[in-house]
């Protein structure tokens, strides 16, 4: 009896899964169709159609020029992401444990999170000069705050008994963070990393789009300026695919950490 019920449930699940896959495929086709429609409607002056873009992309990835720009973006992004993740994690843990400091800092950070930071980019340029360090600084400006806020929120909602236990065991602050706080807040921290990842990427790209000579952001704006439509469409495609892939990877990672902590 129970065997039968199990079989029934699983077959229902697979049929639902099949519907889902079908719907997802329809969705992808629909988006490609819209892309194609925009491309052919404007005769390719603004957006090049999917197939043409893909072919152009195949040629593009065989050139060294593309990889130089991609490497410039990747280097700036990685540095900015590591910096904002580490500093944000440390700040979040400190503000989470020190309640008073946290309450003072949180609205300031949240306010900074919502302002248009692009307006501050000239200041970054004046301080760091044109080049890699300005892009990195701008990426950190975008990625640091969400990482801090997510970690802070996670530590604050932690059962106080964990922190008290750490105190009873006379763990040093560094060990408390490493052995108690970070493992307990892992799902939230991964979530913060995910948001921080996409915002850091955005910051680096905006930095490259405004007065830079290297990187994917530059390539995009340059393609537009030279009326090289396939180039800019291809760069946008690459950026979208990379960010969606990274995001889904981190969503999966968070699912796994959430299971473990339960």
């Amino acid at each position: 009896m129970s065997d039968f019920a199990f079989e029934d449930a699983s077959s229902r699940r697979t049929s639902r899964g099949r519907i889902r896959t079908f719907d997802a495929a329809v969705l992808v086709l629909l988006m490609l169709a819209i892309w194609q429609a925009i491309g052919s409607w404007t005769h390719g002056v603004a957006v090049s159609p999917p197939l043409q873009t893909l072919l152009y992309l195949f040629d593009l990835v065989r050139t060294g020029m593309f990889w130089q720009h991609a490497a410039a973006t990747l280097a700036a992004f990685l540095l900015a992401f590591v910096l904002s993740a580490l500093i944000g994690l440390a700040l979040g843990l400190i503000f989470g444990v020190r309640r008073f400091a946290g309450e003072v800092a949180e609205p300031i950070l949240a306010g900074f999170y919502t302002i248009p930071k692009v307006t501050l980019y000239p200041v970054v340029l004046l301080i760091f000069g044109l080049g890699m360090s300005a892009k990195v600084a701008f990426g950190v400006m975008h990625g640091l705050v969400p990482m801090t806020l997510f970690t802070l929120g996670a530590v604050r909602t932690l059962p106080p008994v964990l922190i008290r236990t750490a105190r009873v065991m006379r763990l040093s602050p560094a060990r408390t963070m490493l052995w108690v706080l970070v493992p307990a807040c892992l799902p939230e921290i991964v979530n913060g990393l995910r948001i921080s990842f996409s915002l850091t990427f955005l910051g680096v790209l905006i930095g490259e789009m405004f007065s830079s000579q290297r990187g994917l952001g530059f390539l995009l704006v340059n393609g537009m300026a030279q009326h090289n439509v396939p180039l800019s469409t291809a760069v946008v495609t690459v950026i979208v695919v990379v960010s969606i892939a990274a995001n889904s990877m981190m969503l999966r990672l968070r699912g796994r950490t959430a299971h473990r902590s339960n």
């Binding site: 519907i19 930071k117 996409s198 537009m224 995001n247």
Partner: protein, 253 residues
């Protein structure tokens, strides 16, 4: 209450201290005045710029664009969210899409939009809607999910028409979640429009800042920057306070 006041006082003291430090560093030459000008100069420059009237057109331009993008984002987002909420099959498809949409730097579509729609208001509005509407959609979905079934049963018992059910039951129940989406939509519209003007445009406050930067007019640049940031902080602050008030009114019944 006293703790809240203490937090507030310390917060103000920290901000005032930071501003004062910056002022002193600039005045004593620790920070090169060619890089950062003292905060008092920024305020003076802001008052000059805004008072002179030369910015009136840019201000009107920028804020009408932001308002249009904000309203459209709320309209499209709420409508799309309500539609998707009705069909669970559609929802299965849309949910993962929304989750990953958030990670795409929407801003990179701006150059394509400019090529598509021409330089001007249209690509800025579309950019603002593209970045704000999904947030509204997500909050609409979670708001409608949060309406408890018993309330809908109540509406049926009272034989309310669908329009009245929406207005009297669903909307008030979903409002707190909806509101957080509106807040996000405002800050996304603001960021999108000003960033767009900054990178590639011929009008507006964002353009004015980048123009001042490119003509090495630091004083004007910092004044404008302060103006834009003050408005952004004020707008977000109003919604933040309003949201807090809504939440408090709910909790007291």
């Amino acid at each position: 209450m006293t703790r809240r006041r203490a937090v507030l006082l310390v917060r103000i003291a920290v901000l005032a201290g930071l501003t004062a430090t910056l002022e002193i560093c600039c005045r004593t030459g620790l920070i090169d005045p060619l890089i950062v000008i003292p905060p008092s100069e920024m305020v003076a420059s802001m008052i000059d710029r805004v008072g002179s009237g030369e910015l009136d057109e840019s201000i009107v331009n920028t804020f009408s664009t932001i308002a249009l993008a904000f309203v459209l984002a709320i309209g499209c987002g709420t409508l799309a969210g309500a539609l998707v909420h009705r069909s669970s099959r559609l929802r299965d498809v849309v949910d993962p899409l929304l989750a990953s949409y958030y990670s795409v730097p929407t801003f990179i579509f701006y150059p394509l939009l400019v090529a598509l729609l021409g330089l001007g208001k249209a690509p800025l509005v579309v950019l603002g809607v593209l970045s704000g509407a999904p947030a509204v959609m997500i909050s609409t979905l979670s708001g409608l999910d949060s309406v408890s079934p018993v309330l809908l049963k109540l509406a049926r018992v009272h034989r309310l028409s669908p329009a009245r059910t929406l207005w009297w039951i669903v909307l008030p129940a979903a409002l707190p979640r909806l509101f957080s989406g509106f807040k996000l939509a405002l800050s996304y519209a603001l960021i999108g429009v000003i960033a767009g003007e900054f990178i590639l445009s011929g009008t507006g406050l964002g353009f004015a800042i980048s123009f001042a930067y490119q003509s090495f007019d630091n004083r004007a640049m910092y004044g404008l920057m302060l103006f834009v940031l003050l408005i952004a902080v004020t707008a977000n602050g109003i919604l933040y306070v309003w949201e807090g008030r809504l939440a408090r009114r709910r909790s007291t019944g």
